[in-house]
Symmetry: none
Subunit: 79 residues, 4 copies
DNA sequence: ACGTTTGCGCTTTAGC
DNA sequence: GCTAAAGCGCAAACGT
């Protein structure tokens, strides 16, 4: 009988993933809609995407720098 | 002054996108966590991903078929 | 006979790729060796990798910014 | 003053890695170009990649086998 | 040496 | 239809 239990557990995991994938898809669609709305108000989506990408890169670089400084602090025995 | 209005509008669009991107990232993390939890209970994540992919293909194929049938129905003047 | 010609061409392309893949593998090994050598002289490779990564991120962000500014210039009809 | 020496050494290691990373990137680009050229002559790049992957697996398997045979030879006191 | 975690490359998808 | 970017899977690298 334990195979059935395992199969049931697996089914539940699969369904949780599928549910989350759907939610993710919905958010992607929302993002697309925002670009469309912005375009309808005269903004160029290519430029907007470039801005979003740039801001993300800068944020990531800052986070990386913070992590590196934290590593230094730890290595030097500082707080 | 209209440049400022435009700039403000642009800023709002950008922030909406960034907010949605964060949500999307959060969901991706949730999916990752489900796979980790499943793995901790003895399920192989590679296999699970293959199952999810396969089921999606089957669903897409079914949807495709439904759309085709709908086309036929319409063409034939049926409900 | 044209299949043979095509097969021969394909073989040559494949071999060019394989040759390049080998070179790439060699360079990856060289990089690994640099980290090992640095470690033998007391440098922490994890920190070094973080530095390399950070510098790359900053460079990429700068390049992205340049491209964005270039887009603006073009849009505004400037040089 | 030794920190400066260490810092200089570190800088040199970092730059060696960065130089090698650039070379590696260049080779990756070359590989991409070969696939593009092949495609322009009618070859499907996805299939080509599959062939390259397969041949690599076969080569690895052969090398593995050779190593195993060598182990046997040594164990048996043969040349 | 093994298992986990992170980075890298390929594949696929979405935009133009 | 093609190019570019995101997401996924794999493989190397770190810590145990």
């Amino acid at each position: 009988m334990s195979e059935n239990v395992a199969a049931e557990q697996l089914r539940l995991f699969i369904e949780r993933v599928e549910r989350l994938e759907e939610e993710k898809k919905g958010i992607s669609d929302d993002i697309r809609d925002v670009y469309i709305e912005a375009k309808s108000q005269g903004f160029d989506s290519k430029t907007m995407r470039a801005i979003v990408r740039l801001r993300k890169m800068e944020k990531d670089a800052r986070d990386e720098m913070d992590a590196l400084l934290e590593t230094y602090r730890t290595a030097l025995g500082l707080v």
